[in-house]
Symmetry: C2
Subunit: 221 residues, 2 copies
Amino acid sequence: MNRYRKAAVLGIIVLGVFACALLTGDSAVAGKKKSFGTGTIIPPVPVWVIGSYDTDGKPNMMTASWVGICCSDPASVTVSIRESRYSYINILATRSFTVNIPSKKYAAETAFFGTVSGRDVDKLAATGLTAVKGEHVNAPYLAEFPLVVECRVSTMVPVGSHTMFIGEIVDIKVDESVLDENGMPDPMKVSPFLFCPGSNGFYGTSELIGRVGELQRKIKR
Amino acid sequence: MNRYRKAAVLGIIVLGVFACALLTGDSAVAGKKKSFGTGTIIPPVPVWVIGSYDTDGKPNMMTASWVGICCSDPASVTVSIRESRYSYINILATRSFTVNIPSKKYAAETAFFGTVSGRDVDKLAATGLTAVKGEHVNAPYLAEFPLVVECRVSTMVPVGSHTMFIGEIVDIKVDESVLDENGMPDPMKVSPFLFCPGSNGFYGTSELIGRVGELQRKIKR
């Protein structure tokens, strides 16, 4: 009788462990996925303010998130813009633009640059920010933003609702106050932020998780 | 005499305030910028793991940061890859790839995927992660990653060292555990991270700064 009771207790324990593994295992290792079909809800993407001159030489700034680095040599970026945008016409005419990386304290100005059109509003006057003529290209950059990039358009690629402007990077300028002890831009001092399509929000950048070279050594080949 | 002393003190105060404004004003509003010439040190950029099958049907994963959303309609992404990469040949053959967004806890696996070649190492076996055949395209996605995207190549654009693969987004799949109360991906739960070229580090995503619609209202037109 004692032997049967022991076997029963053992059986219940084994079954319990099994049930726990079944209940928790799947969701812990790989969650059930919900399908959203097509769309652009891929978080997070960069927030870049694109500077251009209009045909009267008036500076304009437009916030874009359909952007990215696209080539190492020649160092190039891509910025996708709708044909209906004021900046589209400007960049088409000047073949030049700047990329301006905002720090967190300029989140409101950056949201504003992406919401109103330069056709209707002088965005520089409204925000009080300072446009400086590019040193190498015919486009203005923002004096107050910590990292700015001068670009010359090399190619345009129509994709659908948007046209990709491929811009060759001519010069990167960084505020001396955001450089680290090696003279390189310190991401925590630049304090950039990200856009998450879907929630339509700006999110901050937080601490260093690790350097790629060190992290990859944790995996045994 | 007393009157002159008062005027002198007042004069010194006014001059002092002026000097302080001159000394602090410029650096607080717009710092002196150091020029870096051309290059790709533009922080931060996304970290995407690109899934593909080789000609034997073996799954491979490669980490890429020269990437971005590039069109709303048709919803599309761009991923730049060097011709020498194993994934380049795979995607050329299958015209398909997946974008897998890693959460912070997979930083080491993600660094590893970007450092070794699928020609030399079975990266899935080394990391113990699970490749699942895409539902709509001929490419594998990672079961463990919280947000995955199936893409079909629509165009290729050679830029220089890299070729841009433009991929039309066919389906986005999101772990139910990272959805918010409205059923949308919650960026804080996805817990993605960013790459900062220059420091060669992965950085986390932090708190919501604000929604674009609310932030832009802080600027008076």
